[in-house]
């Protein structure tokens, strides 16, 4: 179980230090992606771009190291080809440490 330690409480993380920061990540299935660019237009963090020409046009994450992705999965919702998905959240650690979270899941139906 995750919890906040005293050091977490008093320390502000360095937002660009990849040793402590886990940023959101969208995983792109290059086989399914047709490079339509819809996801790049709606991404709230402007984390996505399109590269390549013609049939090789594919979406990709712009800043591979510190991505501005917030794992909102808006790209997942708009993608017609089902080619993009984010399955992990962001965590900036220390003061902003994420606690009490489980795995990503679609809306669950209980009957």
């Amino acid at each position: 179980m995750s919890y906040i330690r005293f050091i977490d409480k008093i320390r502000i993380p360095n937002y660009y230090n990849m040793k402590i920061v886990t940023t959101g990540k969208a995983i792109i299935d290059e086989e399914k992606c047709n490079g339509c660019g819809l996801c790049t237009k709606i991404c709230p963090g402007r984390a996505l771009g399109v590269r390549g020409e013609g049939k090789e046009k594919k979406a990709y994450m712009l800043d591979e190291e510190v991505t501005p992705c917030v794992s909102c999965n808006c790209c997942y919702a708009i993608c017609k080809k089902d080619a993009i998905c984010s399955t992990t959240g962001f965590d900036f650690n220390y003061y902003y440490k994420q606690i009490h979270r489980g795995a990503f899941e679609l809306p669950r139906k209980y009957t």
């Binding site: 179980m1 502000i12 993380p13 937002y15 660009y16 920061v21 819809l38 237009k41 709606i42 991404c43 709230p44 963090g45 402007r46 501005p68 917030v70 794992s71 909102c72 999965n73 808006c74 997942y76 919702a77 708009i78 017609k80 998905c85 984010s86 399955t87 959240g89 962001f90 900036f92 003061y95 902003y96 009490h100 979270r101 489980g102 795995a103 990503f104 899941e105 679609l106 809306p107 139906k109 009957t111």
Partner: protein, 251 residues
């Protein structure tokens, strides 16, 4: 107008339909509206009809609030020039602020910014969480539009003399409006950055932000570009379930 006749008929209907247990095999309409709604950040230029905006405001008017104090005031802006001007203003402010906060650059400026940023983060711990910090960055680079090109924006002002937690009431009211809008096929997005507008007397005057009102949130309304709605995977949260004298953690 609510007549006595209407009241009687609705009462009868509800008693007739009351059952001990109802099975919900599919999502209900309301659930679908809640689960499929996504924040829309790209809009068509087409203006939203006036009657739909008014229906959205009605949904907000009937939101629950503490002690029925209704601590909100709405401002609807539908002029493109004004919205563009506001966008420019906020981007300018972001540029100034980020030039002070940007500790990613090297040299003495970067070091000074590092001290300033760490201090500001401690003071504004919610506003300068890494995510809005990044948003200030992309706004200052003009890669992000404040209202995402929406033709209508509803500003929610809060009466600071509200009962208990007026901020929560304003949130409930806004969520009512957002869900109603989605049920009409409209797209919406919450814009917290509109708070920056209070820095200029010009905008305060225009929006009527004066005692006892505070500008809290803006909601962009418009027809979404593409087909952006749908269910998505999202984090599950730890829930403590206490029953029969036992407490257990579920997800």
């Amino acid at each position: 107008m609510v007549t006595t006749k209407n009241r009687v008929s609705t009462k009868n209907k509800s008693t007739e339909e009351t059952k001990e247990e109802v099975e919900f095999k599919d999502w209900t309409e309301t659930e679908e509206v809640i689960l499929k709604r996504r924040s829309i950040r790209k809009y068509k230029e087409k203006q939203v009809p006036e009657y739909l905006v008014k229906r959205i405001l009605e949904a907000g008017r009937f939101a629950p609030s503490q002690g029925n104090c209704q601590p909100w005031k709405f401002v609807v802006v539908r002029d493109k020039e004004i919205l563009d001007d506001m966008e420019k203003f906020v981007i300018d402010k972001c540029k100034t602020f980020y030039s002070l906060l940007n500790y990613r650059r090297g040299g003495i400026k970067g070091k000074l910014s590092w001290v300033f940023a760490k201090l500001m983060i401690r003071i504004m711990k919610n506003d300068l969480h890494p995510i809005p910090f990044g948003a200030v960055e992309i706004m200052s680079q003009e890669r992000f539009r404040l209202f995402h090109g929406a033709p209508t924006v509803i500003f929610i002002l809060m009466d600071e003399r509200g009962i208990g937690k007026p901020q929560v009431d304003v949130g409930i009211c806004g969520e009512n409006m957002v869900l109603a809008a989605h049920s009409f096929g409209l797209g919406t997005c919450w814009v917290g950055f509109v708070e920056v507008l209070r820095l200029a007397s010009k905008w305060k005057k225009l929006l009527g932000v004066e005692y006892p009102y505070h500008i809290i949130e803006g909601i962009t309304v418009g027809y979404p570009f593409g087909d952006p709605d749908g269910m998505i995977p999202r984090d599950t949260h730890e829930t403590l379930w206490i029953e029969n004298g036992k407490s257990e953690i579920i997800f």
